[in-house]
Symmetry: C2
Subunit: 200 residues, 2 copies
């Protein structure tokens, strides 16, 4: 393999191993040594690609969030108006949440660490604010299109984000996979019904 | 002081000190030694009252949850029907959440620990299921009264609980105290609008 390809393969191996180790042991308990052993790479190779365990974790989290961003953008591009875009978010939620479920415990650990670590705090607040901003725009457009009723668009967006985060956490407590898909879908539809402009 | 009173005063001093230490340092970092020093009690006295740091933490969490339970029951007793009871929950939410905000980081740390500790898991799932059960009953009654529209009452209850948990977490990220009161109130009203039986 050319050097550049080998380097990328190493990076991917580290990310894959890290995902597994974080998942099994949690963020705090996971060690760089264990991740290196699992990926079959040296510590030197690890630190060539990632400055710290935290940096590696942030990379994983960003990749996950970027994937959700892409799904949201595609869904919006395909929807005729904001009302149907939001309903499709609700329909999609179950699936997103089901695949996200593995990642949530890490996210949670990270969240509790954010209190004591300024860098973690920033890394957490930034995507949170981004989703808030994205959905605030969606709400504004929906109001302009007459499909979302007139209300504070930022509060409406925050409600949607809060419900989503709450549903993700709830999924962790629920052993039944079917409910992990059906409850979020139903929950978001209930909220959408509250947000929708009453017909007539 | 008689022995029994002194014993209760010691217990309260430990609880007060623990609340402060958990808040400042987080659950994992907090040590029994530090809590004892802060409460000005011996380790012997500590272990007379609490078996472990975990037991102490559970006591604090249960006291907090019991307080919310009492508020909910009082509110329900005072409301003419379920529709207005739920709207009053929404109105109360801002205040509950504002006082809860200090406790949330601990709760969160606890949640991430639940994955690795069966006892913690049980302690967390139990109140969660209790709130779910309480609100499922509320929803059923509301449907019987014709003020909540016909839908799966358990999913409706789970939606309310999920939104509440999500709002609690969101409050942590929000530096503006006014939004910590106003956003939850607004958010829960939006959901209630989705749950309410349409007039006519």
């Amino acid at each position: 393999m050319p050097t550049q390809e080998r380097s990328e393969a190493t990076r991917q191996a580290i990310l894959k191993a890290a995902r597994a180790v974080f998942l099994e042991q949690g963020y705090q308990a996971a060690s760089v040594a264990e991740i290196c052993a699992r990926a079959d790479v040296s510590k030197g190779a690890f630190y060539h690609h990632f400055e710290t365990k935290q940096g590696l974790f942030l990379t994983l989290m960003e990749a996950w969030l970027a994937g959700i961003d892409r799904q949201l953008q595609a869904l919006r591009a395909e929807s005729p108006d904001m009302g149907s875009a939001l309903l499709r978010v609700a329909d999609m939620a179950g699936e997103i949440f089901d695949t996200a479920n593995d990642q949530v415990p890490m996210f949670l650990e990270f969240w509790s660490e954010a209190r004591h670590d300024r860098a973690v705090w920033q890394a957490l607040v930034e995507p949170y604010r981004r989703y808030e901003a994205v959905f605030t725009e969606w709400m504004k457009e929906g109001m302009a299109q007459g499909v979302i009723r007139k209300t504070d668009p930022r509060d409406a967006a925050r409600t949607l984000v809060a419900l989503s985060v709450g549903l993700l956490l709830q999924g962790l407590l629920d052993p039944a996979p079917s409910r992990r898909v059906e409850t979020p879908r139903h929950a978001l539809h209930l909220l959408m019904d509250g947000l929708r402009e009453a017909p007539g």
